[in-house]
């Protein structure tokens, strides 16, 4: 009995099942075999020691000594002196620990299985096995053993960097549940210490097994329902990005296995991305384009409302229609390039790609393209994808002279919608445009002049910190972000792009806002894009050439402007990448110290506004809000039972057809609520007995006594008096009684009575029974039929055939 052999082996199995997931953390899983042997040693040592002594701590101590020696012998056999660990063995173990530290510093998961790592893992698993064996077998508390098992499982789940297959969880949970059920049924069997022997022969053993079966089946139901729920529920519950919950934990970039993901939509506030000093890649890509690839666009918008850019929410279609390139006239030289992304962490639905895209391959991920803008959207985040985009090599002369046959875009709402100038800054913009574009003959020349003004001649300063609001003629601070930027000449890409768009629009050129990433850093044949590479730029529409990217942000940040925007005839640039006069005062890669006052920035700057859905998502991803939300949900959840009970009572009241049913319903409600408060109903007796019982138990005051008398009298009349009485509502009496009863109870009990009313619990348990009984009910007819078939078959075979 004391040795508990089956329990010991179940604990052993549970330990092994819980650590199976750890194999995903190492390149090879052969350490597991060693760990299984040490766990087995723990179990066997436990069985043997428990046979010798009943003291738990002696057993544990013996196990620690025996298994400790076993582990040391496994890893430092050559250093043992006369079979005992000496200084040499300790030195050997020290070496192993140093090895582990080294490996952990160098590698992220999965880590190579060096002897040190193997030692670490086997030791950890052995300690786990010791704890589980002690709790589950020696102390006979397998439920408590669930915690260390869960810790081991979570270690694997949290560090692997990717989601763990559900099988790991299922196996561990199942073995643990079996362990618990074995302990529980054992303790139920031991409930009675003496066996009752009936005088008359009865089939008591049947009753016992029946009762045990009842316990067992409900326990099994619970276990299975919990397991299934644990596996299925995550499919229903929306996945919040893990980085937000672990925000505080995951800040350390050197942490092993820290794969931070970037949700672009939630960081449309570019300042945050720009200030992001982390070196975690958003994605990596390779492209067939020679030289520096173009920026990678994520979204484009032409709606500027109230100082903010809005992305149109309805644009996410599932059409895979890439017609945007049709705007480009055949006269323009184009070249299709490929662009392949790997290790993409950009949150769905957004996709970064150079535009215009003419072909895309997202594997099995559903995707779509906005027919108006060509923006790509996906349903789920693909790990890797590739697109083909069209490199437009339009010549400056073509743009200046106009491309024959180019679509003017008059019927394209995207083009016509990109002409509105922000009213708040129209005055300043128009004045500046008139000054800057003086002497230009074509739209193209005007656009080039505006870009150059921003990049070079306008004496702008690139900074993530916006200047304090300028003061206008009347002494009032300027509130319009674009005006403010044009006056203070300090800002970052969003301000540059917004201002250029407004100036181009003032000049009659359709212009819109593109948001995405700079090409990133080149290394080992591929590019890596980080959150700090977020960028915004204007796209201007030229008939025949389509939407062309311009680059007003100074070169120190963005590199050279597109080739078609630097006509050599103008002579004010000396070639790509050189922009000598670009005055950049801020550091090219903005350090995290540049600006911290986010609130001030968003107030003063023309930040990119997001549609409602995105804003909701941003709200949800704030850790503080999450805690708030969790609290709110917890509060709501705790109200489920009280509300259910109220509704149950209310439904019965409303459904009662006559005075009798109403009185019965209200009486049941009263009894149920008093029972919740800890006043058990008497067994049997008349209503007056019940009244006396409650009055005595709850120390009712006079008002409550009167109310109780009224309630009982009402019920007596409806039960026993001549039918045909008027309906009496005693709800107010019920309130008086329950309040008086509650006042005599301790606070905790009152809270419990409020939170867990039995009527609510009963309703939910009935619902659960109904739901869990569905499979049984579905199967039952077939089972019956099968049984009938079996009987028929037997009958058929029997010689006495009927009928």
């Amino acid at each position: 009995m004391r040795t508990r052999v089956p329990e010991a082996f179940l604990a052993f199995a549970a330990t092994v099942a819980a650590v199976l997931g750890l194999t995903t953390l190492t390149t090879t899983g052969n350490w597991l075999a060693t760990a299984v042997w040490t766990c087995l040693a723990v179990a066997v040592a436990g069985i043997g020691l428990r046979r010798l002594t009943s003291r738990g701590w002696v057993v544990l101590l013996g196990q620690v000594v025996l298994v400790g020696w076993f582990v040391i012998a496994l890893f430092a056999r050559s250093s043992l002196t006369f079979g005992l660990p000496g200084p040499a063995a300790i030195a050997r173990l020290g070496d192993l620990v140093a090895d582990v530290t080294d490996v952990l510093h160098k590698y992220a998961a999965p880590i190579p299985t060096t002897p040190g790592v193997e030692f670490l893992l086997v030791s950890a698993v052995t300690v786990l096995a010791l704890v589980v064996d002690y709790l589950a077998v020696t102390r006979n508390a397998p439920a408590a053993a669930g915690l260390p098992l869960l810790a081991a499982f979570l270690t694997a789940a949290a560090n692997s960097g990717s989601s763990l297959a559900p099988g790991y969880f299922l196996v561990a949970a199942l073995v643990w549940l079996i362990l618990i059920s074995r302990q529980a049924s054992g303790s139920v069997r031991r409930w009675s210490t003496t066996m009752a022997s009936p005088r008359t022969p009865t089939t008591s053993s049947d009753h016992e097994s029946e009762a045990m079966g009842g316990f067992g089946s409900s326990a099994r139901q619970l276990g299975v329902v919990a397991l299934v729920a644990a596996v299925l529920l995550p499919a229903i519950i929306p996945h919040l990005p893990t980085r937000f919950i672990l925000d505080g934990l995951g800040r350390n970039d050197s942490a092993v296995g820290n794969g931070g993901r970037v949700g672009f939509s939630s960081t449309l506030d570019l300042t945050r991305s720009l200030q992001d000093g982390s070196l975690n890649p958003v994605f990596s890509y390779r492209t067939s384009a020679p030289g520096t690839p173009p920026p990678l666009r994520v979204v484009v918008t032409s709606d500027y409302v109230g100082g903010q850019w809005r992305t149109s929410p309805g644009a996410q279609s599932s059409q895979q229609d890439l017609t945007a390139p049709g705007l480009i006239s055949p006269d323009v030289a184009v070249q299709d390039r490929t662009f392949a992304v790997t290790q993409n962490t950009l949150e769905a639905p957004h996709i970064a790609a150079p535009q215009p895209v003419v072909g895309a391959d997202f594997g099995s991920t559903p995707w779509g393209a906005d027919p108006r803008t060509g923006d790509l959207y996906v349903r789920a985040r693909p790990d890797s994808y590739s697109v083909t985009y069209r490199e437009v090599n339009v010549a400056p002369a073509q743009l200046r002279d106009g491309i024959p046959g180019g679509a003017s875009g008059q019927n394209d709402p995207q083009v016509t919608g990109s002409l509105g100038v922000d009213q708040g800054s129209a005055q300043v913009v128009n004045d500046l445009v008139a000054k800057i574009t003086a002497g230009t003959k074509t739209s193209y020349d005007a656009a080039v002049a505006i870009q150059n003004w921003f990049r070079t001649t306008g004496d702008f300063t690139y900074s993530l910190t916006l200047a304090a609001p300028a003061v206008d003629g009347a002494g009032q601070p300027v509130t319009n972000p674009i005006t403010n930027f044009l006056l203070t000449k300090q800002g970052y890409c969003v301000q540059f792009a917004s201002a250029m768009i407004m100036m181009a629009r003032a000049k009659g050129i359709p212009a819109r806002m593109a948001i995405g990433f700079l090409p990133g850093t080149f290394a080992e044949g591929g590019y890596t894009v980080r959150a700090a590479d977020a960028h915004a730029w204007p796209e201007l529409y030229f008939p025949g050439a389509g939407w062309l990217r311009f680059e007003p942000t100074p070169a120190g940040r963005t590199g050279s402007a597109p080739a078609y925007t630097t006509p050599t005839t103008l002579g004010n640039t000396t070639g790509p990448n050189k922009d000598p006069s670009a005055s950049v005062t801020a550091s090219a890669a903005p350090s995290s110290g540049v600006a911290r006052k986010l609130g001030a920035d968003t107030a003063a700057g023309g930040t990119i506004s997001t549609p409602l859905s995105d804003r909701v998502r941003i709200w949800f991803t704030d850790p503080g809000h999450l805690v708030l939300l969790a609290l709110l949900l917890g509060l709501l959840g705790s109200l489920v039972l009280p509300v259910t009970a109220r509704l149950v009572h209310r439904r019965r009241r409303l459904r009662s057809l006559d005075a009798a049913e109403l009185a019965e319903a209200q009486w049941d409600e009263l009894v149920s609520r008093l029972t919740d408060l800890g006043f058990r109903p008497p067994d049997g007796g008349t209503l007056r007995d019940w009244r006396a019982h409650y009055t005595r138990e709850a120390y009712f005051d006079d008002a409550a006594k009167a109310s109780m008398g009224h309630v009982v009298a009402t019920l007596e009349r409806t039960r026993y008096a001549r039918p045909g009485r008027a309906q009496v509502d005693v709800r107010e009496d019920l309130r008086v009684i329950t309040r008086a009863a509650a006042e005599s109870r301790p606070r905790g009990l009152r809270l419990r009575a409020f939170l867990f009313p039995r009527d609510g619990l009963e309703w939910w348990s009935r619902l659960t029974n109904a739901v869990t009984g569905v499979p049984g009910r579905l199967v039952a007819p077939f089972a019956r039929r099968l049984g009938r078939l079996g009987r028929l078959g037997r009958l058929g075979r029997s010689p006495r055939r009927r009928g």
């Binding site: 009798a660 049913e661 019965e664 049997g684 008349t686 039960r719 026993y720 039918p723």
Partner: protein, 354 residues
């Protein structure tokens, strides 16, 4: 030795009321709610209170016994008062008889009492040259049968059969007894010497059996004070009369017993029949008596409907004397009252869910 004592009707009717009751024997219907109207119930309570006040002046500190006696009177039952000599059995019966202005006869039962002494006899009248019926002692509203278990079984049955049927047949002619009609019999416990214990079938005819019990010390002292001087019964004057009692009986008959109550009464009777501690359970007549007594108790409480509490209150007095304990129960010194109380605890109180 037969001693017949007649109490002539004493004049002075307490209240003269126009009887609204059309038929005393009319079966109540659920719709006939007028009989047990609040006013009628008030009258029941008032009259009962007067009777009870009068009686408790004589019977000290035995309010429950007095109430039960009044309830049996209103439920048209007969009362068996059983106790050791000298605790006031006869006093109880006579005081109840005295408070009602009606014909009262007292029969002292002795072993040589003849059946014809009770029922009456036809004697040849020389003047009219014909047999003439001379009514026996039973022709009265209230008959007090003292020490009933001292008479021979033959005489006992003569009384008991007329009790049940409400009529007497002598020489082929049937004579109706007076209404209201109540027999209050006293008896000593059967262990006493010189008694003929009543057979089960005859005990069954009594609606209830009550025991006086010894008075409390305080009541006994008070009794010494008041009974020291004048005979106590002499001070009693009638507080009501026979027509009033008949009307009240009609009101009690009209008290509503819901299906749940009827079910409960039957459940209790069934439980006595199925109890392993009892050799003989309650008869259907006992069931009927129990419900009638419960009606009376309800009316005395001013209610026009019976509650399970009423049934529980009357169950022991109504049923206990009809039950015969099994040998095992007798050996374990249980009494019928114990068994009944256990049954009352065990049988669930019926509650209608219509």
């Amino acid at each position: 030795m037969t001693k017949l004592t007649e109490h002539p009707s004493e004049g002075g009717q307490t209240r003269s009321e126009n009887g609204r009751v059309s038929s005393v024997n009319g079966q109540p219907t659920p719709e006939a709610g007028q009989l047990s109207s609040p006013e009628a119930l008030d009258e029941v309570r008032a009259v009962a209170a007067r009777i009870s006040d009068s009686m408790t002046r004589v019977i000290e500190g035995k309010l429950e016994v007095v109430q039960m006696a009044i309830a049996v009177l209103l439920a048209e039952g007969h009362l068996l008062i059983e106790d050791v000599p000298g605790v006031g059995k006869t006093m109880l019966a006579k005081s109840l008889a005295r408070t009602i202005d009606c014909t009262v006869r007292r029969i002292q039962f002795t072993p040589d009492l003849l059946p014809s002494d009770i029922t009456g006899v036809s004697v040849f009248n020389q003047d009219v040259r014909d047999f003439e019926f001379r009514p026996g002692a039973i022709f009265a509203n209230v008959v007090v049968g003292d020490e009933i278990n001292r008479a021979s079984p033959k005489t006992q049955s003569a009384l008991l059969e007329s009790m049940e049927e409400g009529q007497v047949t002598v020489d082929g002619r049937t004579y109706e007894l007076h209404r209201p009609f109540i027999v209050m019999a006293t008896q000593n416990p059967i262990e006493m010497e010189g008694t003929y214990p009543l057979p089960e079938a005859q005990r069954d005819r009594f609606m209830a059996r009550i025991s006086m019990g010894y008075p409390s010390a305080a009541s006994e002292v008070a009794m010494l004070d008041t009974h020291g001087g004048v005979p106590p019964l002499a001070s009693l004057t009638p507080v009501t009369d026979a027509p009033t009692v008949a009307r009240l009986i009609a009101v009690v008959r009209d008290v509503w017993a819901s299906p749940a109550i009827r079910q409960y009464v039957v459940d209790l009777s069934t439980a006595t029949r199925e109890s392993s501690a009892l050799r003989l359970g309650a008869s259907p007549r006992a069931t009927l008596h129990m419900l009638r007594a419960a009606r009376a108790v309800a009316a005395l409480d001013g209610r026009d409907h019976v509650l399970p509490d009423d049934v529980q209150q009357v169950a022991v007095p109504v049923l206990a004397h009809r039950l015969i304990l099994s040998g095992e129960a007798q050996l374990s010194r249980r009494t019928a009252e114990d068994v009944l109380r256990e049954i009352l605890r065990r049988v669930p109180v019926a509650a209608t869910r219509r």
